[in-house]
């Protein structure tokens, strides 16, 4: 296999990992203020993501850095073109990261209330905007012959991309609710479970619409099969949730998000930034890639160290595998 293809897959895997992992902590962040009826419940909900959210976010940094290293042209076009959405994503992630770390540092309801609001907004905003961004990557954006983005912020807010944004939000809320049901106890657990069913139906409808539209825009047989598999996995997750098999439900949404993201990347390949103007302005994997030496060096180093990362990140999830109980208030 060409190293450019290997790195396209690697980038796709990093985004997949990011959305699967940060997806549930975004979901918990969006939900916990509404699902938790009092401070002990909210505290318990936040504790489920406390030890892991930061590590989850590194998947994003890694996706960005790997794109910079392996596909500089892609990184340059994407990040300068999607300027304002990325700015807002950064604002969201900054606010959220600080609030998650600071909420427990003062025993003061007003303080916590502010931090909780920041966590919710800081989870909602990036979830929505990543959906919009990915919708636009798949749909294509106006690029000139130098692969420079020539549209405006408004160009990015097209119906397909907005549907993508809503889909991401709904799916992450469901994914987060299922995660909460899996990781908490008692009332909170039961409420999360019920909520997941309700939001899950909405998420399923949105997902089907968004993925079908994406396939209509640029699908091939493989991506269509992956899309169908993603929808089936999501449905399976919802059924498991209904049966209160929380572990299986979480596996269902995890696999669904993973396959859905993969299906988008498969549909995209061999392009990385399709242009809606001249076909020649489309940026392809090969055009965007770094030199053979760089890709080879990156491949060797990643091959050695990435398995190690997976081992210790996996170990964290093992250490914190217990359910978090709501402290008696």
């Amino acid at each position: 296999m060409e190293l450019t293809t290997v790195w396209f897959i690697a980038i796709a895997m990093l985004w997949t990992g990011y959305f699967v992992l940060e997806g549930f902590d975004f979901g918990v962040g969006m939900l916990f203020r509404f699902l938790g009826r009092n401070e002990p419940e909210r505290k318990a909900a936040i504790t489920t993501i406390g030890p892991v959210w930061d590590g989850n976010e590194v998947w994003l940094i890694m996706a960005g850095a790997a794109t910079f290293a392996a596909f500089p042209e892609w990184y340059a076009t994407l990040f300068s073109g999607f300027y304002l959405p990325l700015f807002l994503i950064l604002v969201g992630l900054i606010v959220r990261g600080v609030a998650l770390e600071y909420r427990g540092k003062r025993d003061d309801p007003v303080w916590r209330g502010r931090m909780d609001l920041m966590i919710t907004i800081g989870s909602l905003l990036p979830a929505l905007l990543w959906g919009i961004a990915f919708g636009n990557i798949v749909r294509g954006v106006p690029l000139d012959a130098d692969h420079e983005y020539v549209g405006s912020f408004g160009t990015l807010l097209n119906p397909f991309a907005l549907l993508g944004g809503l889909t991401f939000v709904a799916v992450f809320i469901t994914h987060g609710a299922i995660f909460l049901a899996l990781r908490t106890t008692d009332d909170l657990r039961a409420r999360a479970n019920r909520l997941a069913t309700r939001t899950g139906v909405v998420a399923a409808v949105l997902t089907i619409a968004f993925l079908a539209w994406a396939q209509a825009l640029r699908g091939d047989s493989v991506s269509i099969i992956l899309t169908i598999a993603a929808v089936v996995a999501f449905a399976g997750g919802l059924v498991a949730n209904l049966l209160r098999r929380e572990g299986w439900a979480f596996i269902g949404t995890t696999v669904a998000i993973g396959l859905a993201v993969v299906s988008l990347f498969v549909a995209l390949f061999p392009n990385v930034m399709p242009s809606t103007l001249e076909p020649g302005s489309t940026l392809t994997v090969v055009e965007a890639a770094s030199s053979a030496y760089t890709l080879k060096a990156l491949t060797i180093i990643t091959g050695i160290f990435f398995p190690l990362v997976l081992v210790y990140q996996g170990w964290t999830y093992w250490v914190f595998r217990k359910r978090v109980m709501v402290a008696a208030s």
């Binding site: 318990a44 936040i46 504790t47 406390g50 030890p51 892991v52 930061d54 590590g55 976010e57 590194v58 940094i61 890694m62 960005g64 850095a65 790997a66 910079f68 290293a69 392996a70 596909f71 500089p72 340059a76 076009t77 300068s80 300027y83 304002l84 990325l86 700015f87 950064l90 604002v91 992630l93 900054i94 606010v95 990261g97 600080v98 770390e101 600071y102 427990g104 540092k105 420079e148 983005y149 020539v150 899996l182 106890t185 572990g247 770094s290 030199s291 760089t294 060096a297 180093i301 990643t302 160290f305 990435f306 990362v309 210790y312 964290t316 250490v319 914190f320 217990k322 359910r323 109980m325």
Partner: protein, 467 residues
């Protein structure tokens, strides 16, 4: 202001701000790990209490370091897309290595450390914070390797058909002589900040609440001040080496640091100069003969090239244009870096002296508690402003002018939005962070007898198994 200026301002503001938290993080985590190790080995409670106290302050600080670091990772592509296209093949590799080897390590093990106090065996838990220390060191090394490549590009070839630099030797990039001296210099400078922070906090407690935990804070004061002293020696030695390397690879920066217009042999070091505003002429100066020759070349009679002759040489080499950085800025940041750094070392030495053998610090010394950590922090900032503005007009020295790196399609409206947005957000967060920090400092050690408040989840809370 055009997009270029705005993008430069944004980079300067967000990077300087980010680097307020970086040196504290690098040093405070290591000092905390050291304290926890002392507790593990001696079993003395005071070390545990100090670990939790300074560990909490470390966590408040690193939260800001992490989120402001996110901006750095995105900013290259957002504001500097042509730079990214030009250097990505080379510069991207150390950045990817930083993510892969350092960020995953830091973020994962910090979560384990915060939430693992009573869930992990003591030794494993101690190992977690040392893994965070390792992560911060790796992170510093890789990002400095990337920066050093901009200062002194090595291990690449220029691909004319793609119009970009391409990596030919990753080993050369990672062993760039600039990073080999910049890394220790940066790390020692970071330890001056962290040591001073530990000492400053302890000093405040010793004076303000002389009866509460006196012995514990005395230990902290001595540890902190000693760290500052040792680190200041390291900073001086590594800085001296760095000056010589920099004279070799960027003689213009060092000539500008001295405002040395004409080539001199031997050259004298200027302690203080008042020049015209544009920096083209000096009006008054105090000079130490031979010293600059020695600092720059290692010989008292060495020749040091002046700005004007370098300008002529660069015009020959790169074509017409100005190759001078902002000379007053370079001159003064260089002096202030050294001066403020030396001052903070002197304060630390004095604190050790005045508290020797059980002596209590004089009451008025409380006014030193806050400046103590701020001095080396400001010195860090001056150092970065010096080395980054001193490289101008180059973004990558000798290869890519700063003006050629900016995003061609990004509008000034977009950059203004993000510049104003980040500046306001950072301003608000600075207030929030500082207040929380001061509050936690005032709270003292007593609160840390509780299970660590580092997490919303108390470790002693009953947990039922999921499976």
């Amino acid at each position: 202001m055009d997009t270029l200026d705005l993008a430069r301002w944004q980079f300067a503001i967000t990077t300087v701000y980010h680097f307020f938290f970086v040196p504290v993080t690098i040093s405070l985590v290591a000092i905390t790990a050291g304290l926890q190790t002392a507790w593990y080995r001696t079993g003395k409670e005071k070390y545990l209490r100090l670990t939790k106290f300074y560990g909490k302050l470390f966590l408040i600080n690193i939260a800001m370091g992490v989120v402001t670091g996110l901006v750095q990772e995105f900013q290259f592509g957002m504001n500097w897309s042509d730079y990214s296209r030009f250097v990505g093949d080379v510069f991207g590799a150390p950045l990817a290595l930083e993510g892969l080897l350092a960020f995953f390590l830091e973020s994962t093990f910090i979560g384990l450390w915060i939430f693992g106090w009573e869930r992990l065996p003591k030794l494993v838990h101690l190992g977690c914070i040392w893994m965070v220390v390792l992560g911060t060191q790796l992170s510093a090394y890789f990002i400095l390797a990337a920066n050093s490549w901009m200062q002194n590009p090595v291990g690449f070839r220029y691909n004319a058909s793609r119009g970009r630099a391409e990596l030919t030797d990753l080993g050369a990039v990672l062993t760039n002589k600039v990073v080999l001296v910049t890394y220790p210099h940066t790390i020692f400078a970071a330890f001056m900040v962290g040591g001073a922070f530990v000492a400053g906090v302890a000093l405040w407690h010793l004076i303000r609440r002389p009866l509460v935990d006196k012995d514990v804070f005395r230990s902290a004061l001595k540890i902190g001040a000693s760290v500052v002293l040792v680190a200041s020696v390291g900073v001086a030695i590594s800085g001296d080496l760095q000056g010589k390397v920099m004279t070799e690879v960027q003689p213009m920066k060092m000539a500008a640091a001295e405002a040395l217009y004409a080539t001199e042999k031997p050259a004298s070091f200027s302690v203080f100069t008042v020049g015209t505003l544009d920096g083209s002429k000096e009006i008054f100066s105090i000079k130490l003969p031979y010293l600059l020759s020695f600092l720059a070349t290692g010989h008292f009679n060495g020749e040091v090239k002046g700005i004007n002759s370098l300008q002529d040489a660069y015009e020959q080499l790169y074509g017409p244009g100005s190759y001078k950085p902002n000379i007053p800025l370079t001159y003064w940041t260089f002096r202030l870096m050294i001066g403020v750094g030396m001052l903070s070392a002197a304060v630390a030495l004095w604190l050790l002296w005045t508290t020797r053998r059980g002596r209590a610090p004089a009451h008025w010394l409380i006014w030193l508690a806050a400046p103590l950590p701020l001095l080396p922090l400001i010195a860090n900032t001056f150092g970065w402003i010096f080395t980054e503005t001193g490289r101008q007009p180059w973004l990558v020295f000798g290869l890519l002018p700063t003006a050629s790196g900016v995003s061609p399609s990004t509008t000034s409206g977009e950059v203004i939005t993000s510049l104003v947005g980040f500046t306001l957000l950072y301003g608000v967060l600075a207030v929030v962070e500082t207040k929380l920090m001061l509050r936690t400092i005032r709270g003292g050690l007593a609160g840390t007898d509780d299970p660590p408040e580092t997490s919303p989840d108390r470790p002693d809370k009953p947990l039922s198994f999921a499976y």
